[in-house]
Symmetry: C2
Subunit: 337 residues, 2 copies
């Protein structure tokens, strides 16, 4: 079977050459383990944090030669665990490999109702990106009717869901994405307008899209994209921090100048509320139920880009950091259902 | 009469030479104006914002040749306004001058009950610093019994009050100040411990003072002082931003490296809540009443450093930015009561 390992720690943005696809022995499930066949892999920018040589967060770390980890959807092929039966669909961090033998007491597995939505939705709308979007818009952002919400990385897994939640909540929803093609896709999902951050007049376009200022800014990006947002924030605006892809792989410090003084000045002078998403704990216990209900009612559409085959996973993962053209959740089809 | 004008825009930290003490005509109150005699001037780091050539906030700006502004306590010498009588004590932004003729409809004047506390308290505990400390500890910080609160610029006008509020709320209160003398003064106000940020083992001392981590960090400083705080913040800690004196006069960007990536990472990974004080509006309507009551009950002591005479105001103001030795609210006695 195939698996993907880390060849060397990426420097800054990952490239496909930082990873290697290799052949490994088929695993055998021991007592207390299940044998999983992988169908879908989640390509998520957060995986970047597990690839830092210097450990900066509590997140698990992958060393050169080790298999990569991220969300995956699998089916039970054989089971030595009473709670799991052959044929069950499950989601868990079971590794970038075609088959895995895992102990569910060590690697938590979440059962999926494959009848309610396609199994891959467990990596997007009905998984971590959905919980993140729910938390950022509702629990942290407290978005209400008539407010103006700006969402960066609007075409991303979280952004596409957050914007659709914003429309359900009755807000004016402005997206920010890279390139006219992505912007059109974002607008097709119901965003009121999407601004292209690559346009030479990006800051002016953004200001024109938010004539009354911004009540809530969903931060997914950081860097220059965000610098244009800050002057438009209203007094006591909220800024849920759900990601900051511009800084991933940068460590704790980037090249100067130091933009922290200006950010602190904005926070203080505007009475800004900046709050980190801080993991799925912040999402209410009913987040996944809400999302499944909205999906069932046709109020939220699944947005997904599919990469075919484990061999393509390294290049597709690297593409996230160079602003590839995918819209919605980026997943790898490892095996056909 | 004497007044203090801006000679030139300060570059970075102000120096006494950026200001000039000059003689001016005694003002005459017109119709609708009162004549004020200044007794006390507030020396506040926020005044620095009015001295930037480039206007970065909505704050009023002083240009070279113009009189400086900040809080001042005065007494009515003559009145052409029914609401104000000769002998009334008032607080308002009436300028760094011995006498002023002002229209209270243009320059708001707040009457002071000189029987409840010394008139200068209207510039500290019973004024803007008190409201700021109240808002940062209660409305924004939501400090509760048993929590660990760290307060930077603990010896400052806001810090001395915030720490005493923390003890009233039942929190463990850790101060950060510059030098052993200031730290002893801070501890004498009831802080559990005060850590000297100039000590070579400052970060270790701070960690030792907060063995269970930090629930709330009252940010008054920024820069290296804050960098040592961030790793100690607990999951979902709160960080009211009440000032950041390390960055004043720096504009929106400081010399590199860029520390914003590390700050964003801390915000996201810890689910941190960072919220700007954003002006007195955030303080509850009962903030000044609470502070006056606590003062009357002997639960909060006035901490004040007095500079004698308007001639000394420029050097004393500049001293704020070089970490002078004053403890509590820094005021200038312009005239003896």
């Amino acid at each position: 079977m195939k698996q993907v390992v880390l060849r060397n720690y990426p420097r800054g943005a990952p490239s496909a050459g930082d990873f290697a696809v290799e052949t490994a022995e088929m695993p055998e499930p021991s007592t207390g383990e299940v044998l999983l066949k992988t169908y879908w892999l989640s390509l998520d920018p957060l995986i970047r944090f597990s690839l830092d040589e210097r450990r900066l967060t509590g997140r698990a770390q992958v060393r050169p030669g080790e298999v990569l980890y991220g969300g995956a959807v699998s089916r039970i092929e054989a089971s030595n665990v009473a709670a799991f039966s052959v044929g069950d669909w499950v989601e868990g961090r079971t590794g970038w490999r075609e088959f895995a033998a895992v102990d569910p007491a060590v690697v938590p597995l979440r059962k999926i109702d494959a009848g309610a939505a396609p199994p891959s939705a467990a990596l997007g709308l009905l998984g971590m990106p959905g919980q993140t979007a729910h938390a950022c818009m509702i629990e942290v952002g407290r978005v209400t009717t008539g407010e103006t919400v700006v969402i960066s990385a609007a075409a991303g897994a979280v952004g596409t869901i957050a914007g659709q939640i914003g429309k359900i909540l009755g807000a004016r929803v402005v997206g920010i994405a890279g390139g006219p093609e992505k912007c059109r896709a974002v607008e097709a999902l119901g965003f009121d307008v999407c601004v292209d951050y690559r346009a030479s007049d990006y800051a002016d376009q953004l200001a024109a899209a938010c004539p009354g200022g911004i009540d809530v800014y969903i931060e997914n990006v950081g860097g220059a994209v965000t610098q244009a947002v800050l002057p438009l924030l209203k007094y006591q605006a909220r800024m849920p921090v759900c990601g900051f892809i511009a800084y991933y792989g940068m460590g704790l410090e980037g090249p100067g100048p130091d933009r922290l003084p200006g950010f602190m000045r904005t926070i203080m002078s505007k009475g800004l509320e900046v709050r980190g998403f801080g993991g799925a704990l912040v999402a209410g216990p009913d987040a996944l139920d809400n999302l499944a209900r909205w999906h069932g009612q046709g109020k939220i559409r699944l947005a997904e880009t599919v990469v075919e085959g484990l061999d393509e996973a390294p290049a597709a993962f690297a593409g996230i950091f160079s602003g590839n053209a995918n819209v919605g959740k980026l997943v790898v089809r490892v095996a056909a259902e």
